[in-house]
Symmetry: C2
Subunit: 505 residues, 2 copies
C-alpha cells in the first residue's frame, strides 16, 4: 500500500495524515489490523517512536482503536466520497442575499486596477509618504501600550475624547464623548444606522445623485429608496415627501457640507427647513460629512448637527478622506436617544474596533499630527484641483460644478449623449487615462452626461499629463466640428445639442 508523506510538519504528523487519508478513502478498511509499531517502523524506515505517536494521534481522533494485547485496529469510519469537482450555485438562501445579488459591484474597481496609468477614480487617498512615516511611528508606539483585551464596543475612550474635542473645534459639533461611536469607516456606520432604524419596506430618502455605497447599504437592508433632487443649494427640501403622505420616510440622508457628487453646499435656509421637517415627521437625518475638511474658498461650514436641537441628526464621519481608506476608521455622532442601541449593534457586529489603531488615532489627533496633515493635504489638493480646472477650462462643452471643496469635481458634458460619453471614457482608457461616469451615482439614469474627476491620488505632474490626454480625447470626440481652442472670444456659435442630451435644468 502507498502511504504518501506530504512533507509538512513533523514526521509523526505526516504519517498520521497519510493513514487517515487511507482510512477515509477506504484503502484501509474498518476492522483491519495495523502493523505493529516496530514492523511499521521498519517498513517505512521511521523511528518506532514516530509510529507510536502517529497511532496515538489516530486513536485520539477515533480512526483506530487498540485491543489490549492484540494490536491496533481500524475503527468503523464512513469512507469519504471525493469532493465534487464543481459546486452547483446555491439558491439565494435569504431575502438579504436576493437583494445583495441584485447589486452591480463593477463600479468598485480600485484605481489603476484596469491598468490605467492615470486613474481619476474617486476615493483614492492623497499620496504623501510623510503620512505613512508618521503613522508608522504612532502605530508602533501604540502597539506597546494599547490594551490587548477585548475592546470597548463604542470605541476607545481616549479616541472618543479626542474626537469630541476635534469635532467641537473644527465642525462646530457639540457632542459628549459618550455620544460618539467609533466604527470601521462610514460604510459600517451607515450599516449600523440602517440595521437599527430601518425595517424592511421602510422608505428612505437619498439625494439624487448620491453615493452608491450608501444606496447599496439601504437597499440590502430592504429599504425603499426615494430619490429627491439637488440643486445649487443642495437637497431641494421642498421636494421631500409631503407631510400629508401616508408614510413618513424613516431616514433622510444628506451631504450638507459638499453634496456628493455634485458639490453644492446645503444652504442655511434649507438646513433649517430640513431640521423642521425631521422634527415634525419624527424621522432621522443622516449627515454624511465625508470630505468637509477640504474647502478652498472659505472655512469648513459647521456641521448640520450643530444646528440640531431635537436630537434628530446622526452625524457620520470618516478618516478615509482625511487620512486613507485602508485605515477603516470612522465615527458616528449619535443623538442621545440612539446611542445605546447603536453601541449594542456595534457590539453585536464585531465587539468593537481594533484597539491599537484606535489608540494610535487618539494620539495622532491629540498631538496635532492629524490637523497638521490636513493642512498639508489641503494645500496639495488645492494645487491638484487647479491643474484639473485648468485642463478642463478650454473645453466649451465642459461645465464644472462643485469644485470649491473636496477631492473630486463633477463636470457636465454638454452635447454628449450617453454613447458619446462612453466613447470618450473608452478612448481615454486606451490612452492610459481612467475617467468615470457620474451615472452609477443615480437611482435613475441621468438625463445629462457627466464625469467625476478624482484628483487626490495623482501628483501635479501626473495630473498635467492626464489632462493633456483628456484634452486630446475631447478634441477627437467633441460634438462640434469647430474645436473650442479655435473659437474667438465672444463669437456666437450655432449650437446643436446631440440627440438625447439635455442642457442644464
Amino acid at each position: 500500500m502507498q502511504l504518501a508523506m506530504n512533507g509538512h510538519g513533523p514526521r509523526h504528523a505526516q504519517l498520521a495524515h497519510a493513514l487517515r487519508a487511507a482510512i477515509l478513502e477506504g484503502r484501509l478498511r474498518s476492522g483491519s489490523r495495523l502493523p505493529a509499531s516496530r514492523e511499521m517502523a521498519m517498513q517505512l524506515r521511521l523511528s518506532r517512536n514516530t509510529v507510536i505517536a502517529a497511532y496515538e494521534q489516530l486513536r485520539a481522533e477515533g480512526y483506530v482503536h487498540a485491543r489490549v494485547g492484540a494490536g491496533t485496529y481500524v475503527s468503523e469510519v464512513e469512507p469519504a466520497r471525493s469532493r465534487p469537482a464543481r459546486v452547483a450555485p446555491v439558491a439565494a438562501p435569504t431575502r438579504y442575499v436576493e437583494r445583495l445579488r441584485a447589486l452591480d459591484f463593477s463600479i468598485l474597481r480600485r484605481g489603476g486596477d484596469e491598468g490605467a496609468r492615470w486613474d481619476m477614480q474617486i476615493g483614492e487617498p492623497v499620496t504623501d509618504p510623510a503620512l505613512f512615516t508618521a503613522w508608522r511611528r504612532t502605530l508602533g508606539r501604540a502597539a506597546l501600550y494599547a490594551d490587548p483585551r477585548y475592546p470597548h464596543s463604542a470605541g476607545l475612550p481616549a479616541l472618543r475624547e479626542a474626537l469630541a474635542d476635534y469635532l467641537a473645534r473644527r465642525r462646530g459639533v457639540d457632542a459628549a464623548p459618550d455620544e460618539i461611536i467609533v466604527v470601521a469607516g462610514a460604510q459600517q456606520g451607515m450599516g449600523l444606522v440602517a440595521r437599527v432604524l430601518v425595517e424592511e419596506r421602510d422608505s428612505v430618502v437619498l439625494e439624487e445623485p448620491h453615493y452608491f455605497g450608501l444606496r447599496w447599504t439601504l437597499q440590502t437592508h430592504g429599504a425603499r429608496v426615494v430619490g429627491v433632487p439637488v440643486d445649487d443649494a443642495g437637497l431641494v427640501v421642498e421636494r421631500l415627501p409631503a407631510v400629508s403622505a401616508a408614510k413618513s420616510p424613516r431616514l433622510v440622508c444628506v451631504t450638507p457640507a459638499h453634496q456628493f457628487p455634485l458639490g453644492a453646499t446645503l444652504s442655511l435656509a434649507r438646513r433649517q427647513a430640513l431640521l423642521a421637517y425631521a422634527a415634525a415627521r419624527r424621522c432621522w437625518i443622516v449627515e454624511d460629512d465625508y470630505d468637509s475638511e477640504f474647502r478652498y474658498d472659505s472655512e469648513p461650514l459647521p456641521a448640520l448637527r450643530s444646528l440640531d436641537r431635537d436630537g434628530r441628526v446622526i452625524h457620520v464621519g470618516t478618516f478615509s478622506k482625511t487620512l486613507f481608506p485602508g485605515l477603516r476608521l470612522g465615527y458616528v455622532v449619535a443623538p442621545r436617544g440612539l446611542v445605546r442601541d447603536l453601541v449594542a449593534a456595534k457590539r453585536l457586529h464585531d465587539f468593537g474596533g481594533p484597539t491599537i489603531e484606535q489608540a494610535a488615532m487618539a494620539r495622532f489627533i491629540a498631538d496635532g499630527s492629524f490637523e497638521r496633515h490636513i493642512r498639508k493635504a489641503s494645500g496639495a489638493l488645492r494645487a491638484r484641483r487647479e491643474v484639473v480646472l485648468a485642463g478642463l477650462a478650454p473645453h466649451a462643452a465642459v461645465e464644472v460644478v462643485g469644485a470649491q471643496a473636496g477631492m473630486h469635481l463633477a463636470a457636465w458634458l454638454h452635447g454628449f449623449d450617453r454613447a458619446r460619453c462612453q466613447a470618450l471614457i473608452a478612448l481615454a482608457r486606451t490612452r492610459g487615462l481612467g475617467i468615470h461616469s457620474i451615472a452609477p451615482h443615480y437611482l435613475r439614469p441621468p438625463r445629462r452626461s457627466g464625469l467625476l474627476f478624482g484628483y487626490a491620488g495623482l501628483a501635479v505632474r501626473e495630473l498635467e499629463a492626464a489632462m493633456q490626454v483628456f484634452g486630446e480625447c475631447m478634441r477627437a470626440l467633441a460634438p462640434s466640428r469647430r474645436r473650442s481652442s479655435e473659437l474667438g472670444r465672444g463669437q456666437v456659435l450655432p449650437f446643436a445639442p446631440a440627440r438625447g442630451a439635455k442642457g442644464k435644468t
Copy 2:
C-alpha cells in the same frame, strides 16, 4: 451686546462662532445691520482683516448677506431653541432593536473591570510582552508598504494565502485562498453568516451550553434558537431535530475541537453523522474553531471542515485566542457555493478590514512568528492549567471537565445549589478573586452549578495566589461539614446533595 470668544482656533473663526451664536439665539435679529468692519474691529480690538474674514465666513454660511454699498445684514434665520435638558428614550424603532434590547450585556464585563485582583474571566489573552514587541515591529514595517487605498473586501490576498497554508498544515483544512474571507473577529464572521443564511424565524441549532456571543448574534437576527445537549463526545447528534420534522434548521453551530464551554471533543462517529445530517437536510454547519491550537494531551485534531465533501461546513477561526482579542482579526473558510455572497456581505458591512494589520498578519504567519508564539503560549498555558488543576484537586465537591485543551476549564460544584454557588462567587469577589458561573452560557438555566476558570490572563504566581483564595472560599462554603482535605483515601462518605442540585447526568 456680549460676544463671547471661545478661545478655540484662529480669531476670525472665534468671532464668526460668536456672531453665529448671537444670530441663532435671536440676540442679533434678521434684517439688522452689522457694524462696518472697521468699526467692529475698533470695538473689539481686533484687526480689520479678522473681522472681514469672519463676515465672509458668515456670508458663505448664509447667516448674513451684503447689500452693495450698504453694508452687511443679518439674514432670515430661524432662531434656535435651546436643546432639551433630557432626551426622552426612543421607542424601539425596529424589531432588530427590540431583540437587541432583550439581551443582557452584563456578562461582558472585561477582566478586572470590577476591581478583582485575580480575574479568571474567560477570553483574556495570554500575557506575553515579547508578543507585543514582535507585533510592533511587524506592524510598523507593514505601515510603510501596505496599500493605503480601499482594501480588498474578502481580505488581503497575501493574508488569504498565508491562512490557506497555515490551515492546511495545522488544521487539515484544504481550502483555496479564495475560499477564505478575512473578518474582524469570529463575532463578525458569525454575523455575516447569520445575515446571509438566516431569515427571521428560521430555526438554528446551538450546542447547550454554548458561547453566549453566538446566541446573541443569532437571536438579534431573529432566529429561533434550539439547544441540543452535549456529552463527553460533544454534540449529541442523535438529538438533532428529526428528519421528519416540518422545518429543518438552517444552521447547526458546533465547537468540534473543544466544546465551548464544557471541553469535549466531537467524536469521529458524531462528526460523520453530523455531516450526513447536514447533507440530507441541506442545512449548514458552522464550525467555531476558537481555541483548537492549544491542546495538551495530543496534537490538535483536524477540523470538521477537512471531512466535508458536500460543501456544508463554514469554518470560523479567530486570532483572539492565539494572539489577542484587541486585534479584531479572524477568518471564515466558506463552502465554494457561499463565498460570493459572504464576500458581498462583508463588502456591504465595512468594505473590508484594515490593510496594515492584514499585511502585518500575513507576514507574521509567513515568517513563522505566529507559530513560534503559539508554541510559546502553549507552554505557558500548560503550566497555568497545572496550577488551576492542582488548586481544584483537593476539593471533593469539584469535578473538572474539558481541561485537555484551550484556555479555560469548567468545573461542576457537586452539592452546590444556585444560591450556594452565588455565595461562593460573591465571597471570592470580596477577597479579590473573580470566578464566573457557567449559567450565562445556557439557553435554559442549567440544573447543575458550575464555574468556568479562565487561566490565560494570569501568570503562574498569580494563579497560585488565586487558587489559594479559591480554596479558602470553598472551605468556608462547601456543603459537607467534613472538609475534603481531612478525608482518608478510599473512605466511604454519606453523600447528601443540597436541595436543587443534581449529580452529573
